[in-house]
Every structure is written in structure tokens, then in C-alpha cells.
């Protein structure tokens, strides 16, 4: 019984891992045509730079 339970948990975990591996990259920020650096939220800008390898 325990073995069956453990195996089920492992199978579910493995399926979840496979599902997670296929996830798409995060949504990019919606930069409007007339967007300026000054009016862009800093946290969002930082996240944008992080995704592209421009900051930590």
C-alpha cells in the first residue's frame, strides 16, 4: 500500500516536472509606442533588464 502510494506520488511529481519544463517564458512588459524611461515603473524596468541579462 505504502509502496503504491509512494509510486503514485513520484508519478505525479514527474508529470508535474514535465508540465513545468514546457512552460513559456514570462510575459514581457508591454512597452507602449510613446513610453519614456521616466514614466516606466522602476521595478518593471528592472525586471525587464534582469530577463535580458542587464542587471542582477
Amino acid at each position: 500500500m505504502r509502496a503504491a502510494l509512494a509510486a503514485s506520488v513520484l508519478l505525479v511529481a514527474a508529470s508535474a516536472a514535465g508540465w513545468w519544463l514546457t512552460r513559456p517564458p514570462p510575459e514581457p512588459p508591454k512597452v507602449a509606442e510613446d513610453q519614456t524611461f521616466e514614466d516606466m515603473d522602476r521595478a518593471e524596468y528592472e525586471a525587464w533588464m534582469q530577463e535580458l541579462g542587464y542587471t542582477d
Partner: protein, 304 residues
């Protein structure tokens, strides 16, 4: 065997679940709403300079007939490439070639490319072309490209272009200072040491130095970071990790280990670089980080 089947099954259902999101993202790309990516991180440094071996080959690569003969999907790309090819000799003709591009966004990109192509030889004309672009986004890209083109020629002027790079100004400063660092590290240091702009602008300047030098040599990059403002030294070392990992992740990780209090910042940079290509390894790298706060930030980034 059963576990592998489970993983594959999970991937199958995962793909089915995520495909609509991927399709939507693809539509965004077609509509020009994709994540704006700063142009050409290496600037024109990799292209042969006018008059040097290899440069003459560009003149025989494309012709209007070549582009006219292409299928519709490739024709605009061809016109754009032809415009870049022609621009150094005849910017006006290059802009006329840009006018043949069908896509509205690509026409603007074409103008920006022409400006970048001629910026070293005629910065005034490049500025005029950029200033004439009505789209704020593409005008910003244009000045960004001009800054990259002039980074190795005139550091002060090149950084000055970034003030006109609109929403890309901090990306611009990062890449231009990185290009400057490759040929004149004291000049790059001097730019970042001014500590201009807000906190994000200031720290990413140092990141640019670390990243660009690390693409060449991580020891050289680390030495440059050691001379940076103490407040942003960790960020600089993150750049070392990222840039070095683009070239040789294992060698960079080995080098990171020798960097004392900044080893973890360096490893964070390597892990971040792996986020898209190898998320499993990225997570493992984050988990190897000793400092709790750096490890937490790393894991937060690679798993989001």
C-alpha cells in the same frame, strides 16, 4: 521507465496547456508588440571596418534584383540588409531602399540601421536621420545604435547618445559603457564613477563593464569590478558571471569560486544566464550560492 513516461506525459499536457500562450506570444511578435530587445549588444565591433579586409565583400552581397526576386516574407529583410550595405557609401540611396520595405515597423528599423551604419563616418547625418524618426520607440533605438557605433571612437559622445535613447536609455548606457570598456577601461570607469541617474541607471552601468569584459576574460573583468564603486561591486560581478557564462560556464564558475566575497554574485550571474537554456541547471546553481539573500534572489529570478 515509468517515471520517464510520466515526465513525457506531463510535457505533452504541458505543451497543450501552454500552446495557446505561445501562440499569443507569436501573434504579439507579428504585431510588433514583442519584448523590445536592445539592438546589437556588440555594436558594429564585429563587422569589418570600411577599407579593411572583408569589408569589400559587402558590396557584392546584395542588389535590388536580389531582393525583388525573394519571396514576400524575406523581401523586407533583404531591403533592410541592402540599405545597411549601401549606407556607408550613399546614405540617401540607403533611405530610398528603406522606402521599399513594406512593413511599417521594419521601415523605421531600416532608418535606424542606416544611421548606425554611417554614425562613425558622419555623426551629424546620423543624428539627423534619428531625429527625423517620428516613432519614439524607433527614434530611441536609432540613438542607441548610434551610441554603440561610436563607443570605441568617442566615449563621451557615445554615452551622450543614450540620453536620447528614450525608453532604452539604461540599456544603452549598459552596452555603450561595455563597448568602451573593451578598448578603454579607464574611460568606462570614469563614466560609471559619475554615478549619474537613478539607482537602476547607476548599478547597470557597472554591470555593463563586468559583462562585456567577461565575454573576453573573466579575470580581466573581475579586476575591473574590484575597481568599481563598492555599492555596485556585486552587480558588476553578476555581469562577470553572465558574460563569462556566454563563453564558458564551467570555466566561469571555477573563476567565480576564487572571487572571495563576490563569488556568490558571480554564480548568480551564471545561474541567471542559464534560466532559459537550462532551467534545471539554473536552479541547481542558485542552490549552490552560500549567501542566503543572494540565493533567494537567484531562485526567485530563475523560477519566476
Amino acid at each position: 521507465m515509468l517515471l520517464w513516461l510520466a515526465v513525457l506525459l506531463g510535457m505533452r499536457f504541458g505543451a497543450e496547456h501552454w500552446l495557446p500562450a505561445l501562440a499569443a506570444a507569436a501573434e504579439q511578435l507579428d504585431a510588433g508588440e514583442s519584448m523590445p530587445v536592445p539592438p546589437k549588444p556588440t555594436g558594429l565591433a564585429s563587422l569589418p571596418a570600411p577599407g579593411t579586409p572583408g569589408d569589400g565583400q559587402r558590396a557584392t552581397l546584395l542588389s535590388p534584383a536580389t531582393c525583388e526576386a525573394m519571396v514576400a516574407d524575406l523581401r523586407d529583410v533583404c531591403w533592410q540588409s541592402l540599405a545597411r550595405q549601401v549606407a556607408p557609401a550613399d546614405p540617401d540611396e540607403a533611405l530610398r531602399v528603406c522606402a521599399r520595405v513594406a512593413g511599417s515597423e521594419m521601415v523605421l528599423e531600416c532608418h535606424a540601421d542606416v544611421a548606425e551604419s554611417i554614425a562613425v563616418a558622419d555623426r551629424a547625418r546620423a543624428e539627423t536621420i534619428c531625429a527625423a524618426i517620428e516613432s519614439r520607440k524607433w527614434r530611441g533605438q536609432c540613438f542607441f545604435g548610434s551610441g554603440l557605433a561610436l563607443a570605441e571612437t568617442d566615449a563621451e559622445y557615445a554615452m551622450g547618445r543614450c540620453a536620447h535613447a528614450e525608453v532604452y536609455q539604461t540599456f544603452c548606457r549598459h552596452d555603450v559603457v561595455g563597448e568602451i570598456a573593451l578598448v578603454d577601461l579607464p574611460a568606462a570607469h570614469a563614466q560609471c564613477a559619475r554615478e549619474e541617474g537613478d539607482w537602476l541607471t547607476r548599478k547597470t552601468c557597472w554591470h555593463g563593464i563586468g559583462k562585456y569584459l567577461a565575454r573576453r576574460d573573466t579575470s580581466e573583468a573581475a579586476a575591473a569590478c574590484d575597481a568599481s564603486t563598492a555599492e555596485w561591486r556585486g552587480t558588476c560581478y553578476h555581469g562577470v558571471g553572465w558574460g563569462g557564462a556566454e563563453r564558458d560556464a564551467d570555466a566561469t564558475l571555477a573563476d567565480c569560486s576564487t572571487r572571495g566575497p563576490y563569488a556568490d554574485h558571480c554564480r548568480h550571474g551564471v545561474a541567471a544566464q542559464f534560466k532559459r537554456a537550462d532551467p534545471t541547471r539554473a536552479v541547481a546553481l542558485c542552490e549552490s550560492i552560500q549567501k542566503a539573500d543572494t540565493r533567494a534572489r537567484c531562485l526567485d529570478f530563475v523560477t519566476r
